[in-house]
Symmetry: C2
Amino acid sequence: MGVDTPSIADAAATALADARARIRTGELTGPTSGLAPGFAQANLVILPGSYALDFLRFCVRNPKPCPILEVTDTGSPHPGALSPEADLRTDLPRYRVFEDGSLVDEPTDVSRYWRDDLVSFLLGCSFTFEWALAAAGLPLAHQRQRVNVPMFVTDRRCTGAGPFEGPLVVSMRPFIPDDIARAVEISSRFPAMHGGPIHVGDPAELGITDLGAPDFGDPVEIEPGEVPVFWACGVTPQAVVVEARPPLAIFHAPGHMFITDRPHAEFDSQEKAS
Amino acid sequence: MGVDTPSIADAAATALADARARIRTGELTGPTSGLAPGFAQANLVILPGSYALDFLRFCVRNPKPCPILEVTDTGSPHPGALSPEADLRTDLPRYRVFEDGSLVDEPTDVSRYWRDDLVSFLLGCSFTFEWALAAAGLPLAHQRQRVNVPMFVTDRRCTGAGPFEGPLVVSMRPFIPDDIARAVEISSRFPAMHGGPIHVGDPAELGITDLGAPDFGDPVEIEPGEVPVFWACGVTPQAVVVEARPPLAIFHAPGHMFITDRPHAEFDSQEKAS
């Protein structure tokens, strides 16, 4: 899709190069949704090396909210596997910088915070399964309503690792019952992008009391007959890291993701040859 | 399969408890193939904490040979996710202990080598996809010929991480052309157990010159018309770690795996709900 023929692939590659250049120079500082269509985007977490092993253990133990796409070499800002030419210090439109658990800056470039002991983690992002759902003709309420997906803190605990522990955060997308099986089936094909939902139906089962009051993002209207479907969300690791209060932690600003060089389809476990 | 009904599940659980007890006391010191049928087995790598982040990065970068099932807390010998009651110091029938890259011991218990800074990694093992292949009626030549699966060092390099780098090691199983598609399809359902093959056919493409002279394991006879099929192999991380010469590294002895509490079917990506 989108990269099937040379001319479309060329156009897609040009759009990617253009988006990355405009982000790098600071011309483009807004959310990345809709930019460089066809390419997977990723959550970013940057931590001092002394926290990296525990954080990686946390990701291994909680693969639904924290699917690991890549871990850089210590001190390197280059994601060699996903996008070797990219620089994680400049190639996201906006970042959030935390010191000792407090938000201290929301810059468009984190070069001045860079240290030789930092390790960067790129984690899967729901945009890829949303792309697959849309390609299959399944309507997404938050896109139709032009708002951010609603996210909720649940009463389920992640499996802890060292200083990292906390609740699972989920995103919610409503579907009519006829579409639920396909929504599950399609998103399940992308385990590196949060995979299938963790829950279908009654939000109380997750300790969510009011779907109209999300903890992050925006409320979406649920039409009569629609059922809420919940996916593990990439906000989970951000919340857990902030709670652990490391001396320094850098994230993408919400919605301001890293755009990778890799087409969505590469993360389809039923397409992947190796 | 094998745990479908309560009585069969009970018998399987009893066989598991019995095998683990006999291994723990040192009564059972042989290979684990065929023990506690129905339960997944795992490769074991134990390293000092100072090597753990680089090794985990190596595994993330090379998921086919090094699929991560679990990483323990530093100093803990208990695999909390796979088998919380187990003790990795005593619950494998035989180990290999390396100091500075040299084999120094092949004990049946590594309690005396234990240190508070050790981290244990459990990696997926091909027994699970072999179980699935056998359940589907696909004959395995090495089992029919009652030898170990043949393994070969290839000319493909793994993606390095810190001190860890080296060639990909593969295992080879021959199939008739009619069975190849199903062998690929079935093994691909188990990404945590090496997943689908990395190559089908001409061994020269992997730099393998003589199928009759494996680097590890035993040669198998390939019948006329059979095609060699190659899977990434759990010997890869052992070879790479030994080359890096850490002061201490402990592995399972070849074929003497850790038997987990988890049924094979739990690792089938098409069965798994979450």
